[in-house]
Amino acid sequence: MTGPSDKGASLRVVDVAVEFSGLRALDGVSLTLSPGEIVGLIGPNGSGKTTLINAITGQVPLAGGQVVLGDRPLSGLAPRDIALLGLSRSFQIVRLFNNMTVIENVEAGALAHGHGLRKARAKAEALLDEFGLSARADDLGGNLSYGDKRRVEIARALASDPAFLMLDEPAAGMNEAETETLLHKLSALPASRGLGLLIIDHDMGLIMRLCDRLHVLAFGRTIAEGKAADIRKDPAVIQAYLGSEAGIGAAHA
Protein backbone atom coordinates (compact mmCIF):
# COMPACT_ATOMS: atom_id res chain seq x y z
CA MET A 1 0.00 0.00 0.00
CA THR A 2 2.92 2.38 0.46
CA GLY A 3 4.19 4.14 -2.60
CA PRO A 4 4.56 2.89 -6.11
CA SER A 5 5.46 -0.71 -6.74
CA ASP A 6 7.92 -0.03 -9.52
CA LYS A 7 9.81 3.20 -8.98
CA GLY A 8 11.51 4.49 -12.08
CA ALA A 9 8.79 3.25 -14.42
CA SER A 10 7.24 5.67 -16.89
CA LEU A 11 3.63 6.69 -17.13
CA ARG A 12 2.30 6.12 -20.63
CA VAL A 13 -0.95 7.37 -22.06
CA VAL A 14 -1.67 5.36 -25.19
CA ASP A 15 -4.21 6.46 -27.77
CA VAL A 16 -6.68 7.55 -25.10
CA ALA A 17 -10.24 8.60 -25.97
CA VAL A 18 -12.87 10.04 -23.63
CA GLU A 19 -16.51 10.67 -24.50
CA PHE A 20 -19.12 12.75 -22.75
CA SER A 21 -22.54 11.62 -23.99
CA GLY A 22 -21.33 11.12 -27.54
CA LEU A 23 -19.07 14.15 -27.63
CA ARG A 24 -15.40 13.24 -28.04
CA ALA A 25 -13.51 15.22 -25.39
CA LEU A 26 -10.27 13.38 -26.11
CA ASP A 27 -9.41 11.52 -29.28
CA GLY A 28 -6.32 9.39 -29.71
CA VAL A 29 -4.06 11.25 -27.32
CA SER A 30 -0.71 9.64 -26.48
CA LEU A 31 1.81 11.00 -24.01
CA THR A 32 4.70 9.70 -21.96
CA LEU A 33 5.82 11.07 -18.61
CA SER A 34 9.07 9.82 -17.10
CA PRO A 35 10.38 10.31 -13.57
CA GLY A 36 12.52 13.42 -13.29
CA GLU A 37 10.99 15.38 -16.16
CA ILE A 38 8.48 18.20 -16.39
CA VAL A 39 5.94 18.07 -19.18
CA GLY A 40 3.64 20.99 -19.89
CA LEU A 41 0.14 20.33 -21.14
CA ILE A 42 -1.23 23.34 -22.98
CA GLY A 43 -4.03 24.20 -25.33
CA PRO A 44 -6.95 26.60 -25.71
CA ASN A 45 -9.94 26.44 -23.33
CA GLY A 46 -11.97 23.30 -23.78
CA SER A 47 -9.20 21.42 -25.55
CA GLY A 48 -9.30 18.53 -23.06
CA LYS A 49 -6.34 19.23 -20.77
CA THR A 50 -8.18 18.71 -17.51
CA THR A 51 -10.04 15.77 -19.02
CA LEU A 52 -6.71 14.13 -19.80
CA ILE A 53 -5.63 14.42 -16.15
CA ASN A 54 -9.03 13.11 -15.06
CA ALA A 55 -8.62 10.18 -17.44
CA ILE A 56 -5.17 9.36 -16.09
CA THR A 57 -6.26 9.50 -12.43
CA GLY A 58 -9.46 7.54 -13.04
CA GLN A 59 -11.99 10.30 -12.44
CA VAL A 60 -13.49 9.79 -15.90
CA PRO A 61 -13.77 6.44 -17.72
CA LEU A 62 -11.90 5.87 -20.96
CA ALA A 63 -13.80 5.28 -24.19
CA GLY A 64 -10.67 3.87 -25.81
CA GLY A 65 -6.93 3.43 -25.43
CA GLN A 66 -5.18 2.85 -22.13
CA VAL A 67 -3.06 4.36 -19.39
CA VAL A 68 -0.08 2.27 -18.29
CA LEU A 69 2.31 2.69 -15.38
CA GLY A 70 5.46 0.70 -16.16
CA ASP A 71 3.71 -2.38 -17.49
CA ARG A 72 0.71 -2.13 -15.23
CA PRO A 73 -2.54 -0.96 -16.86
CA LEU A 74 -4.35 1.70 -14.83
CA SER A 75 -7.47 1.93 -16.97
CA GLY A 76 -10.50 0.71 -15.07
CA LEU A 77 -8.98 1.15 -11.61
CA ALA A 78 -10.75 3.39 -9.10
CA PRO A 79 -9.15 6.80 -8.39
CA ARG A 80 -8.06 5.60 -4.95
CA ASP A 81 -6.19 2.60 -6.33
CA ILE A 82 -4.45 4.78 -8.89
CA ALA A 83 -3.52 7.23 -6.14
CA LEU A 84 -2.04 4.42 -4.05
CA LEU A 85 0.16 3.45 -7.01
CA GLY A 86 1.85 6.84 -6.71
CA LEU A 87 -0.14 9.22 -8.91
CA SER A 88 -1.03 12.45 -7.16
CA ARG A 89 -2.88 15.47 -8.47
CA SER A 90 -4.26 18.91 -7.76
CA PHE A 91 -7.55 20.26 -9.05
CA GLN A 92 -8.39 23.12 -11.37
CA ILE A 93 -10.92 24.39 -8.84
CA VAL A 94 -9.11 23.96 -5.54
CA ARG A 95 -10.45 21.13 -3.43
CA LEU A 96 -9.19 21.57 0.10
CA PHE A 97 -10.63 20.04 3.26
CA ASN A 98 -12.14 23.35 4.34
CA ASN A 99 -13.12 22.48 7.90
CA MET A 100 -9.71 21.06 8.73
CA THR A 101 -6.60 23.01 9.53
CA VAL A 102 -3.85 23.50 6.95
CA ILE A 103 -1.54 21.04 8.68
CA GLU A 104 -4.34 18.46 8.92
CA ASN A 105 -4.94 18.88 5.19
CA VAL A 106 -1.33 18.07 4.39
CA GLU A 107 -1.19 15.26 6.95
CA ALA A 108 -4.14 13.58 5.23
CA GLY A 109 -1.97 13.10 2.16
CA ALA A 110 0.61 11.19 4.19
CA LEU A 111 -1.93 9.28 6.30
CA ALA A 112 -3.71 8.10 3.16
CA HIS A 113 -0.54 6.29 2.12
CA GLY A 114 -0.23 4.35 5.32
CA HIS A 115 1.99 6.58 7.42
CA GLY A 116 1.30 6.80 11.15
CA LEU A 117 0.15 9.97 12.90
CA ARG A 118 3.62 11.01 14.08
CA LYS A 119 5.31 10.45 10.73
CA ALA A 120 2.49 12.28 8.96
CA ARG A 121 2.85 15.26 11.29
CA ALA A 122 6.61 15.44 10.68
CA LYS A 123 6.15 15.22 6.92
CA ALA A 124 3.44 17.87 6.95
CA GLU A 125 5.56 20.24 9.01
CA ALA A 126 8.48 19.86 6.62
CA LEU A 127 6.25 20.47 3.59
CA LEU A 128 4.56 23.52 5.10
CA ASP A 129 7.99 24.92 5.84
CA GLU A 130 9.12 24.23 2.29
CA PHE A 131 6.11 26.04 0.85
CA GLY A 132 6.26 28.95 3.29
CA LEU A 133 2.97 28.02 4.93
CA SER A 134 4.15 27.39 8.50
CA ALA A 135 2.47 30.54 9.80
CA ARG A 136 -0.82 29.31 8.37
CA ALA A 137 -0.54 25.77 9.79
CA ASP A 138 -3.34 26.26 12.30
CA ASP A 139 -5.77 28.15 10.04
CA LEU A 140 -8.75 26.39 8.53
CA GLY A 141 -8.37 25.40 4.89
CA GLY A 142 -11.48 27.36 3.95
CA ASN A 143 -10.12 30.63 5.39
CA LEU A 144 -7.02 30.85 3.20
CA SER A 145 -6.35 33.15 0.26
CA TYR A 146 -6.63 31.57 -3.15
CA GLY A 147 -2.88 31.43 -3.68
CA ASP A 148 -2.32 29.81 -0.29
CA LYS A 149 -5.02 27.24 -1.04
CA ARG A 150 -3.17 26.29 -4.22
CA ARG A 151 0.05 25.81 -2.33
CA VAL A 152 -1.61 23.73 0.38
CA GLU A 153 -3.09 21.54 -2.31
CA ILE A 154 0.35 20.97 -3.85
CA ALA A 155 1.86 20.26 -0.43
CA ARG A 156 -0.94 17.79 0.29
CA ALA A 157 -0.33 16.02 -3.02
CA LEU A 158 3.41 15.82 -2.24
CA ALA A 159 2.82 14.42 1.25
CA SER A 160 2.05 11.04 -0.28
CA ASP A 161 5.51 10.86 -1.92
CA PRO A 162 4.05 10.50 -5.41
CA ALA A 163 6.00 9.11 -8.34
CA PHE A 164 3.99 11.36 -10.65
CA LEU A 165 2.39 14.67 -9.84
CA MET A 166 -0.25 16.28 -12.03
CA LEU A 167 -0.98 19.93 -11.39
CA ASP A 168 -4.00 21.61 -12.93
CA GLU A 169 -3.29 25.34 -13.18
CA PRO A 170 -1.20 25.62 -10.01
CA ALA A 171 -0.45 29.32 -10.54
CA ALA A 172 -4.04 30.46 -11.14
CA GLY A 173 -4.99 33.20 -8.72
CA MET A 174 -1.40 33.93 -7.70
CA ASN A 175 0.31 37.28 -8.13
CA GLU A 176 3.58 37.64 -10.03
CA ALA A 177 5.86 37.27 -7.01
CA GLU A 178 3.98 34.20 -5.80
CA THR A 179 4.12 32.68 -9.27
CA GLU A 180 7.86 33.27 -9.39
CA THR A 181 8.37 31.53 -6.03
CA LEU A 182 6.17 28.65 -7.11
CA LEU A 183 8.14 28.29 -10.33
CA HIS A 184 11.35 27.78 -8.36
CA LYS A 185 9.70 25.26 -6.04
CA LEU A 186 8.22 23.28 -8.90
CA SER A 187 11.35 23.28 -11.03
CA ALA A 188 13.30 21.74 -8.14
CA LEU A 189 10.80 18.93 -7.51
CA PRO A 190 11.79 16.41 -10.20
CA ALA A 191 15.43 16.46 -9.13
CA SER A 192 14.84 16.50 -5.36
CA ARG A 193 12.05 13.92 -5.30
CA GLY A 194 12.61 11.98 -8.49
CA LEU A 195 9.05 12.50 -9.62
CA GLY A 196 7.55 13.20 -13.01
CA LEU A 197 5.55 16.40 -13.22
CA LEU A 198 2.69 17.05 -15.62
CA ILE A 199 1.52 20.61 -15.48
CA ILE A 200 -1.36 22.55 -17.03
CA ASP A 201 -1.21 26.31 -17.00
CA HIS A 202 -2.28 29.29 -19.04
CA ASP A 203 0.72 31.34 -17.97
CA MET A 204 2.94 30.76 -21.00
CA GLY A 205 5.90 32.43 -19.33
CA LEU A 206 5.74 29.93 -16.50
CA ILE A 207 5.20 26.96 -18.79
CA MET A 208 7.99 27.87 -21.22
CA ARG A 209 10.55 28.30 -18.47
CA LEU A 210 9.50 25.32 -16.40
CA CYS A 211 8.93 22.53 -18.85
CA ASP A 212 11.36 20.21 -20.61
CA ARG A 213 8.72 19.19 -23.11
CA LEU A 214 5.32 20.50 -24.12
CA HIS A 215 2.25 18.69 -25.30
CA VAL A 216 -0.35 20.78 -27.12
CA LEU A 217 -4.01 19.81 -27.33
CA ALA A 218 -6.78 21.38 -29.40
CA PHE A 219 -10.31 20.00 -29.69
CA GLY A 220 -9.25 16.84 -27.90
CA ARG A 221 -6.41 15.98 -30.28
CA THR A 222 -2.68 16.35 -30.04
CA ILE A 223 -1.57 19.05 -32.46
CA ALA A 224 2.06 19.27 -31.45
CA GLU A 225 4.60 17.96 -28.99
CA GLY A 226 8.24 18.55 -28.39
CA LYS A 227 10.72 21.05 -26.93
CA ALA A 228 9.36 24.37 -25.74
CA ALA A 229 11.43 26.37 -28.20
CA ASP A 230 10.13 24.34 -31.16
CA ILE A 231 6.53 24.49 -29.98
CA ARG A 232 6.66 28.25 -29.83
CA LYS A 233 7.47 28.39 -33.53
CA ASP A 234 5.07 25.66 -34.59
CA PRO A 235 2.55 27.23 -36.99
CA ALA A 236 -0.21 24.77 -36.05
CA VAL A 237 0.13 25.73 -32.41
CA ILE A 238 0.14 29.45 -33.10
CA GLN A 239 -2.87 29.01 -35.33
CA ALA A 240 -4.84 26.93 -32.81
CA TYR A 241 -3.74 28.62 -29.68
CA LEU A 242 -4.07 32.30 -30.36
CA GLY A 243 -5.12 32.37 -33.97
CA SER A 244 -2.50 35.00 -34.81
CA GLU A 245 1.14 35.39 -35.70
CA ALA A 246 1.79 37.29 -32.45
CA GLY A 247 1.16 33.94 -30.80
CA ILE A 248 2.97 32.51 -27.87
CA GLY A 249 6.03 34.67 -28.29
CA ALA A 250 4.03 37.73 -27.26
CA ALA A 251 2.53 35.97 -24.29
CA HIS A 252 5.98 34.95 -23.22
CA ALA A 253 7.41 38.44 -23.47
Binding site: A78, F97, N98, N99, A108, L117, D138
Partner: protein, 342 residues
Protein backbone atom coordinates in the same frame (compact mmCIF):
# COMPACT_ATOMS: atom_id res chain seq x y z
CA UNK B 1 -1.66 17.63 22.18
CA UNK B 2 -2.20 20.31 24.86
CA UNK B 3 -5.34 21.44 23.12
CA UNK B 4 -6.85 17.96 23.04
CA UNK B 5 -6.19 17.48 26.74
CA UNK B 6 -7.66 20.90 27.44
CA UNK B 7 -10.80 20.03 25.45
CA UNK B 8 -11.16 16.73 27.30
CA UNK B 9 -10.64 18.46 30.68
CA UNK B 10 -13.15 21.23 30.02
CA UNK B 11 -15.88 18.99 28.61
CA UNK B 12 -15.28 16.31 31.24
CA UNK B 13 -15.41 19.12 33.80
CA UNK B 14 -18.94 19.98 32.63
CA UNK B 15 -20.10 16.45 33.37
CA UNK B 16 -18.33 16.31 36.75
CA UNK B 17 -19.79 19.70 37.67
CA UNK B 18 -23.23 18.39 36.79
CA UNK B 19 -22.78 15.36 39.05
CA UNK B 20 -21.45 17.53 41.88
CA UNK B 21 -24.43 19.90 41.61
CA UNK B 22 -26.90 17.02 41.61
CA UNK B 23 -25.24 15.41 44.64
CA UNK B 24 -25.14 18.68 46.56
CA UNK B 25 -28.72 19.64 45.79
CA UNK B 26 -29.89 16.16 46.64
CA UNK B 27 -33.24 16.70 44.89
CA UNK B 28 -34.64 13.55 43.29
CA UNK B 29 -35.93 15.36 40.21
CA UNK B 30 -32.58 16.98 39.51
CA UNK B 31 -30.86 13.65 39.91
CA UNK B 32 -33.19 12.16 37.31
CA UNK B 33 -32.62 15.06 34.91
CA UNK B 34 -28.86 14.79 35.30
CA UNK B 35 -28.89 11.03 34.67
CA UNK B 36 -31.02 11.51 31.56
CA UNK B 37 -28.64 14.19 30.38
CA UNK B 38 -25.64 11.85 30.74
CA UNK B 39 -27.44 9.12 28.78
CA UNK B 40 -28.41 11.62 26.06
CA UNK B 41 -24.79 12.73 26.00
CA UNK B 42 -23.61 9.18 25.27
CA UNK B 43 -26.11 8.94 22.40
CA UNK B 44 -25.23 12.37 20.99
CA UNK B 45 -21.50 11.61 21.19
CA UNK B 46 -22.15 8.36 19.33
CA UNK B 47 -23.99 10.22 16.61
CA UNK B 48 -21.14 12.74 16.47
CA UNK B 49 -18.64 9.94 15.91
CA UNK B 50 -20.37 8.97 12.68
CA UNK B 51 -22.16 12.08 11.52
CA UNK B 52 -19.60 14.64 12.60
CA UNK B 53 -16.65 12.89 11.02
CA UNK B 54 -18.30 11.49 7.90
CA UNK B 55 -20.67 14.40 7.24
CA UNK B 56 -23.52 11.97 6.60
CA UNK B 57 -26.75 12.47 8.48
CA UNK B 58 -27.79 9.19 10.09
CA UNK B 59 -31.33 8.54 11.28
CA UNK B 60 -30.60 4.94 12.16
CA UNK B 61 -28.70 5.78 15.36
CA UNK B 62 -31.68 5.49 17.73
CA UNK B 63 -32.52 2.10 16.22
CA UNK B 64 -29.22 0.81 17.61
CA UNK B 65 -30.11 2.36 20.96
CA UNK B 66 -33.17 0.08 20.86
CA UNK B 67 -31.05 -2.95 19.97
CA UNK B 68 -28.88 -2.23 23.02
CA UNK B 69 -31.83 -1.67 25.35
CA UNK B 70 -33.60 -4.89 24.34
CA UNK B 71 -30.41 -6.97 24.39
CA UNK B 72 -29.60 -5.89 27.91
CA UNK B 73 -33.22 -6.37 29.00
CA UNK B 74 -33.42 -9.95 27.68
CA UNK B 75 -30.17 -10.81 29.43
CA UNK B 76 -31.03 -9.28 32.81
CA UNK B 77 -34.77 -9.64 33.55
CA UNK B 78 -34.93 -11.85 36.67
CA UNK B 79 -35.76 -15.51 36.04
CA UNK B 80 -39.00 -15.50 38.02
CA UNK B 81 -40.27 -12.49 36.00
CA UNK B 82 -39.26 -13.73 32.56
CA UNK B 83 -42.40 -15.83 32.11
CA UNK B 84 -44.57 -12.76 32.59
CA UNK B 85 -42.46 -10.11 30.94
CA UNK B 86 -41.51 -12.13 27.86
CA UNK B 87 -43.95 -15.04 27.54
CA UNK B 88 -42.71 -16.05 24.09
CA UNK B 89 -39.00 -15.86 24.88
CA UNK B 90 -36.75 -18.45 23.22
CA UNK B 91 -35.87 -21.36 25.48
CA UNK B 92 -32.14 -20.60 25.34
CA UNK B 93 -32.62 -17.24 27.05
CA UNK B 94 -35.16 -18.47 29.62
CA UNK B 95 -32.47 -19.52 32.06
CA UNK B 96 -30.19 -16.55 31.49
CA UNK B 97 -29.86 -13.83 34.10
CA UNK B 98 -26.72 -11.73 33.93
CA UNK B 99 -25.64 -8.82 36.04
CA UNK B 100 -26.66 -5.56 34.35
CA UNK B 101 -23.06 -4.38 34.60
CA UNK B 102 -22.04 -7.29 32.40
CA UNK B 103 -25.09 -7.02 30.14
CA UNK B 104 -24.56 -3.32 29.33
CA UNK B 105 -21.22 -3.79 27.53
CA UNK B 106 -22.60 -6.91 25.81
CA UNK B 107 -25.56 -4.83 24.61
CA UNK B 108 -23.11 -2.33 23.12
CA UNK B 109 -21.23 -5.09 21.32
CA UNK B 110 -24.44 -6.64 19.96
CA UNK B 111 -25.57 -3.26 18.61
CA UNK B 112 -22.14 -2.76 17.04
CA UNK B 113 -22.25 -6.24 15.49
CA UNK B 114 -25.71 -5.65 14.04
CA UNK B 115 -24.53 -2.30 12.67
CA UNK B 116 -21.39 -3.88 11.21
CA UNK B 117 -23.42 -6.46 9.31
CA UNK B 118 -26.18 -4.15 8.10
CA UNK B 119 -24.23 -1.06 7.19
CA UNK B 120 -21.27 -2.23 5.11
CA UNK B 121 -23.06 -2.04 1.74
CA UNK B 122 -24.78 1.23 2.70
CA UNK B 123 -21.51 3.07 3.32
CA UNK B 124 -20.86 3.41 -0.41
CA UNK B 125 -23.74 5.88 -0.60
CA UNK B 126 -23.32 9.61 -0.10
CA UNK B 127 -25.53 12.65 0.33
CA UNK B 128 -29.31 12.25 0.02
CA UNK B 129 -29.19 8.57 -0.86
CA UNK B 130 -27.25 7.80 2.32
CA UNK B 131 -29.66 9.81 4.48
CA UNK B 132 -32.73 8.12 3.00
CA UNK B 133 -31.30 4.62 3.48
CA UNK B 134 -30.38 5.43 7.08
CA UNK B 135 -33.99 6.49 7.62
CA UNK B 136 -35.15 3.25 6.03
CA UNK B 137 -32.81 1.37 8.36
CA UNK B 138 -34.48 3.07 11.36
CA UNK B 139 -37.90 2.01 10.07
CA UNK B 140 -36.68 -1.58 9.54
CA UNK B 141 -35.22 -1.77 13.06
CA UNK B 142 -38.41 -0.31 14.49
CA UNK B 143 -40.57 -2.79 12.59
CA UNK B 144 -38.44 -5.68 13.81
CA UNK B 145 -38.69 -4.43 17.40
CA UNK B 146 -42.47 -4.06 17.24
CA UNK B 147 -42.96 -7.51 15.69
CA UNK B 148 -40.32 -9.78 17.16
CA UNK B 149 -42.45 -10.67 20.19
CA UNK B 150 -40.08 -13.44 21.27
CA UNK B 151 -37.49 -10.96 22.50
CA UNK B 152 -39.26 -7.59 22.66
CA UNK B 153 -42.78 -8.48 23.80
CA UNK B 154 -43.98 -6.88 20.54
CA UNK B 155 -45.41 -3.37 20.59
CA UNK B 156 -46.40 -3.82 24.24
CA UNK B 157 -44.39 -2.39 27.09
CA UNK B 158 -41.57 -4.58 28.32
CA UNK B 159 -41.31 -4.41 32.10
CA UNK B 160 -39.23 -5.99 34.79
CA UNK B 161 -35.87 -4.67 33.62
CA UNK B 162 -33.75 -4.33 36.78
CA UNK B 163 -32.77 -0.83 37.76
CA UNK B 164 -29.00 -0.48 37.66
CA UNK B 165 -28.18 2.94 36.22
CA UNK B 166 -27.51 5.73 38.65
CA UNK B 167 -26.02 9.14 38.05
CA UNK B 168 -22.44 8.08 38.82
CA UNK B 169 -22.54 5.19 36.36
CA UNK B 170 -24.17 7.28 33.62
CA UNK B 171 -21.71 10.13 34.16
CA UNK B 172 -18.74 7.73 34.18
CA UNK B 173 -19.79 6.17 30.89
CA UNK B 174 -20.51 9.63 29.45
CA UNK B 175 -16.96 10.75 30.25
CA UNK B 176 -15.59 7.56 28.70
CA UNK B 177 -17.71 8.25 25.60
CA UNK B 178 -16.38 11.78 25.53
CA UNK B 179 -12.77 10.59 25.57
CA UNK B 180 -13.62 7.92 23.00
CA UNK B 181 -15.18 10.43 20.62
CA UNK B 182 -12.22 12.81 20.96
CA UNK B 183 -9.70 10.02 20.45
CA UNK B 184 -11.54 8.75 17.39
CA UNK B 185 -11.70 12.22 15.88
CA UNK B 186 -7.92 12.60 16.18
CA UNK B 187 -7.12 9.02 15.15
CA UNK B 188 -5.88 8.13 11.69
CA UNK B 189 -9.32 6.86 10.68
CA UNK B 190 -11.01 9.93 12.13
CA UNK B 191 -8.76 12.34 10.29
CA UNK B 192 -9.09 10.60 6.96
CA UNK B 193 -12.84 10.34 7.42
CA UNK B 194 -13.04 14.07 8.09
CA UNK B 195 -11.07 14.65 4.90
CA UNK B 196 -13.67 12.65 2.98
CA UNK B 197 -16.40 14.68 4.69
CA UNK B 198 -14.96 17.96 3.43
CA UNK B 199 -14.25 16.80 -0.12
CA UNK B 200 -15.05 13.32 -1.34
CA UNK B 201 -13.38 13.69 -4.75
CA UNK B 202 -10.12 15.05 -3.35
CA UNK B 203 -10.13 12.37 -0.65
CA UNK B 204 -10.57 9.66 -3.28
CA UNK B 205 -7.73 11.16 -5.32
CA UNK B 206 -5.49 10.90 -2.25
CA UNK B 207 -6.20 7.18 -2.07
CA UNK B 208 -8.73 6.96 0.79
CA UNK B 209 -11.05 3.96 1.03
CA UNK B 210 -14.07 6.05 1.98
CA UNK B 211 -16.72 3.30 2.48
CA UNK B 212 -14.39 1.44 4.82
CA UNK B 213 -13.59 4.56 6.88
CA UNK B 214 -17.30 5.36 7.20
CA UNK B 215 -18.08 1.83 8.21
CA UNK B 216 -15.63 1.93 11.13
CA UNK B 217 -17.21 5.12 12.41
CA UNK B 218 -20.72 3.72 11.99
CA UNK B 219 -19.88 0.60 14.01
CA UNK B 220 -18.29 2.68 16.78
CA UNK B 221 -21.34 4.96 16.81
CA UNK B 222 -23.61 1.92 17.18
CA UNK B 223 -21.47 0.72 20.11
CA UNK B 224 -22.10 4.05 21.85
CA UNK B 225 -25.81 3.88 20.99
CA UNK B 226 -26.13 0.31 22.24
CA UNK B 227 -24.47 1.11 25.56
CA UNK B 228 -26.54 4.29 25.89
CA UNK B 229 -29.73 2.33 25.16
CA UNK B 230 -28.87 -0.34 27.73
CA UNK B 231 -28.12 2.29 30.38
CA UNK B 232 -31.41 3.99 29.60
CA UNK B 233 -33.27 0.68 29.85
CA UNK B 234 -31.78 0.00 33.27
CA UNK B 235 -32.74 3.52 34.33
CA UNK B 236 -36.34 3.63 33.10
CA UNK B 237 -36.95 -0.15 33.70
CA UNK B 238 -39.93 -0.46 31.34
CA UNK B 239 -40.24 0.65 27.73
CA UNK B 240 -41.83 -0.14 24.37
CA UNK B 241 -40.38 0.04 20.82
CA UNK B 242 -41.88 3.51 20.38
CA UNK B 243 -39.22 4.86 22.73
CA UNK B 244 -36.65 4.22 19.98
CA UNK B 245 -38.26 6.02 17.11
CA UNK B 246 -38.82 9.42 15.58
CA UNK B 247 -39.27 11.51 18.73
CA UNK B 248 -36.03 10.37 20.31
CA UNK B 249 -34.27 10.56 16.94
CA UNK B 250 -35.12 14.22 16.50
CA UNK B 251 -34.23 15.14 20.07
CA UNK B 252 -30.76 13.58 19.75
CA UNK B 253 -30.29 15.01 16.27
CA UNK B 254 -31.43 18.43 17.48
CA UNK B 255 -28.87 18.39 20.28
CA UNK B 256 -26.05 17.58 17.88
CA UNK B 257 -27.09 20.02 15.14
CA UNK B 258 -27.57 22.92 17.55
CA UNK B 259 -24.22 22.32 19.23
CA UNK B 260 -22.35 21.65 15.99
CA UNK B 261 -21.97 18.16 14.52
CA UNK B 262 -18.35 18.55 13.47
CA UNK B 263 -17.00 18.91 16.99
CA UNK B 264 -17.20 16.92 20.22
CA UNK B 265 -17.52 20.26 21.99
CA UNK B 266 -20.64 20.92 19.92
CA UNK B 267 -22.11 17.56 20.91
CA UNK B 268 -21.58 18.25 24.62
CA UNK B 269 -22.75 21.87 24.54
CA UNK B 270 -25.80 20.98 22.44
CA UNK B 271 -26.82 18.24 24.87
CA UNK B 272 -26.56 20.56 27.87
CA UNK B 273 -28.40 23.45 26.19
CA UNK B 274 -31.25 21.36 24.78
CA UNK B 275 -31.72 19.38 27.99
CA UNK B 276 -31.73 22.61 30.00
CA UNK B 277 -34.20 24.24 27.64
CA UNK B 278 -36.43 21.15 27.67
CA UNK B 279 -36.61 20.99 31.43
CA UNK B 280 -37.22 24.74 31.67
CA UNK B 281 -40.01 24.58 29.10
CA UNK B 282 -41.53 21.52 30.71
CA UNK B 283 -41.78 23.24 34.09
CA UNK B 284 -43.10 26.38 32.36
CA UNK B 285 -45.72 24.22 30.70
CA UNK B 286 -46.56 22.67 34.04
CA UNK B 287 -46.96 25.99 35.81
CA UNK B 288 -48.99 27.44 32.91
CA UNK B 289 -51.33 24.48 33.09
CA UNK B 290 -51.70 24.53 36.86
CA UNK B 291 -52.28 28.30 36.82
CA UNK B 292 -55.03 27.70 34.22
CA UNK B 293 -54.13 30.83 32.23
CA UNK B 294 -55.38 29.23 29.03
CA UNK B 295 -58.68 27.40 28.74
CA UNK B 296 -56.92 24.44 27.04
CA UNK B 297 -53.94 22.49 28.29
CA UNK B 298 -50.59 23.73 26.91
CA UNK B 299 -48.74 20.80 25.35
CA UNK B 300 -45.87 20.30 22.91
CA UNK B 301 -44.02 23.46 23.85
CA UNK B 302 -40.71 21.56 24.00
CA UNK B 303 -41.10 20.12 20.50
CA UNK B 304 -42.06 23.46 19.00
CA UNK B 305 -39.12 25.23 20.58
CA UNK B 306 -36.67 22.48 19.56
CA UNK B 307 -37.92 22.70 15.98
CA UNK B 308 -37.62 26.49 15.93
CA UNK B 309 -34.16 26.36 17.51
CA UNK B 310 -33.00 23.86 14.88
CA UNK B 311 -34.35 26.01 12.05
CA UNK B 312 -32.75 29.12 13.54
CA UNK B 313 -29.38 27.42 13.90
CA UNK B 314 -29.50 26.01 10.38
CA UNK B 315 -30.22 29.46 8.96
CA UNK B 316 -27.98 31.62 11.13
CA UNK B 317 -25.13 29.27 11.90
CA UNK B 318 -25.35 26.18 9.69
CA UNK B 319 -22.41 24.48 11.39
CA UNK B 320 -23.93 24.81 14.86
CA UNK B 321 -22.50 26.69 17.82
CA UNK B 322 -19.09 25.00 17.47
CA UNK B 323 -18.76 24.41 13.73
CA UNK B 324 -15.11 23.49 13.28
CA UNK B 325 -12.83 23.92 16.28
CA UNK B 326 -12.89 22.23 19.67
CA UNK B 327 -13.02 24.41 22.76
CA UNK B 328 -9.41 23.54 23.67
CA UNK B 329 -8.14 24.65 20.26
CA UNK B 330 -10.12 27.91 20.49
CA UNK B 331 -8.58 28.74 23.86
CA UNK B 332 -5.02 27.83 22.87
CA UNK B 333 -5.33 29.93 19.70
CA UNK B 334 -6.74 32.92 21.58
CA UNK B 335 -3.93 32.72 24.15
CA UNK B 336 -1.15 32.48 21.58
CA UNK B 337 -2.66 35.37 19.60
CA UNK B 338 -2.69 37.56 22.69
CA UNK B 339 0.92 36.56 23.40
CA UNK B 340 1.95 37.56 19.90
CA UNK B 341 0.22 40.94 20.06
CA UNK B 342 1.83 41.94 23.39
Amino acid sequence: MTRHLLTAAILGGFVILLVACAEMLGIRVFDRIATNLCISLILVLGLQVFMGNSGILSFAHIGFMGVGAYTSAVLTIPLQMKGMALPELYLVFKGVQLSPYLAIPIAGLVAAAVAAALSYPLMRLSDAAAVITSFALLVVLHTVMTNWSNVTNGPRTLFGVPRATDLTLAAGVAIAALLGALAFKESRTGRLLRASRDDEVAAGALGLHIPHLRWRAFVLAALFAGIGGALWGHFITSFSPNAFYLRETFVILGMLVIGGANTVTGAVVGTFIVTGAFEGLRSLEGSLNSAKIFSEQVIGLTEVVLALAMIAVLILRPGGLFPSREIGAIIVRALSKRERST
